[in-house]
Amino acid sequence: MNGKSRVAAHVRALPFSGIRKFFDIVAQRKDVISFGVGEPDFDAPRAVRDVAKTSLERGETHYTSNRGDPELRRAISRYVARQFGATYDPDTEILVTVGVSEAIDVALRAVVNPGDEVIYHEPCFVSYRPTIVMAGGVPVCVETRREDQFRLTRAMLEKAVTPKTRVLMLNFPCNPTGAVLLQKDVEDIADFCVKHDLLLLTDEIYAELTYDSKHFSFIAVPGMKERTIFLHGMSKAWAMTGFRIGYACSPAEISENLMKLHQYAIMSAPTTGQMAAAEALDHGDEAVAEMRAEYNRRRNYLIAAFAEMGIPCHTPAGAFYAFPYIGDLGISAEEFALRFLEEKGVAVVPGDAFGACGAGFLRCAYATSMDNVREGMKRMAEFVAEIRAEKKQ
């Protein structure tokens, strides 16, 4: 080997996720109140789990069709039509994937030619940039800002677009900022895509979790369906992260090529999860509404608590993340997070784990009990007061 690595150079060049380092530190501590968890604290709804059990008892332990179980694809088609206002053919336009994670990966690999530019926004979900790179694309980042409530505007996009831009990749409601787009933003950005003839990859995995207004999807805009890959999944709103089910809706020509990649890499998404997902889509609205109501109480609590501490925070209108700004305290987000964990036993994630422009922010996931929210905010108020006192000396 002569000391040479056997790992491919382009993979070695890929950085480890910033959140991972933090995970290792938190994992060593006991009794932590964690605002670091990007998945629901609720278990999947009882009825969903029961369907999974029944499916196993029936011996449904085999592959499904590559595209996904036909019954589930029909359920997805019905659900997407009723929630988001676009109709997809279950036989030719829907692919069931191993979470939205896989859907992002196959979608990018299917549409990016080497050297194509892909515009995405930061702060964003940790996999976006590496997945674009691994697909051979050139990531072009647009930074969203607190002044704009972390919304993306057409003006920002116009600055980033070049003749090489091929794909626009979005995630609203957004992890980690909790930002949402309003109908007007969506229409403007849709128009931008048409004008520059871009393909839109829209990850709407938090669509059901909006608190101040109903989610407005890109596929509801006339003319967008033809140029959009719409990604969604069961992980967040239905609290089904461990089932590993997502899906991609796209025009037939794209869909069959997504299917090709999926087929060679994965065969088919987990069968038990697919059965459970069909139940959740057809009968899960009430369970989703209950969880949303509880997230909303926690969100409101956080916003009020930050205001009391004098910590600026835009109103996070979706997902289950708040993104307060602690830059005025005179310490970095990383130092804040490390010391807050060390001194008060509370975990938050430094905002720059989600892109450089997240510096000075913290991601606080409120997928944790009200008791934890209350206690965690009490400790944060103490900690912030201590930091301020230190800085005064």
Partner: protein, 159 residues
Amino acid sequence: MDELLNILKTNARTSDADIAKMIRATPAEVAARIAAYEKAGTIRGYRALVNADHLPDDGVTAVIEVKVQPEKEGGFDRIAKRISAFDEVVNMYLMSGKYDLLLFVEGKTLRAVASFVSERLATLDGVLSTGTHFMLKTYKLDGVLMDVDKTDDRMRVCP
């Protein structure tokens, strides 16, 4: 249902200040709304959900099925009111099916409940028969599981 009531029904000890944060109101507004609910009788009281199995022997609860003779005028109401007035009866419902009234009766000892049934309940005019079942263990009370402490086994930090 009003969010305020949802919160109090889940945890009646949530402070006005905390409720205010959760529903984006002021503590004074919360206090005023709670006072209004109390005045209107919508909120009838606040009490702890106690798991009796954790306490030293503090009495027994029996569920009693009662068949009664309905009256020409007023049906079950007169006799039902009479029975529900007993201090020993803590919950009572008129039921469809094989019997008419379902009573939850609390007493200090098994014998105390037995003598309540045989000497005071069964002897009432209009009571045709009774069937008494003693409760052995509480698994769930008002939607709350009594003996599980769920642990959070999620990863502590994840994307």
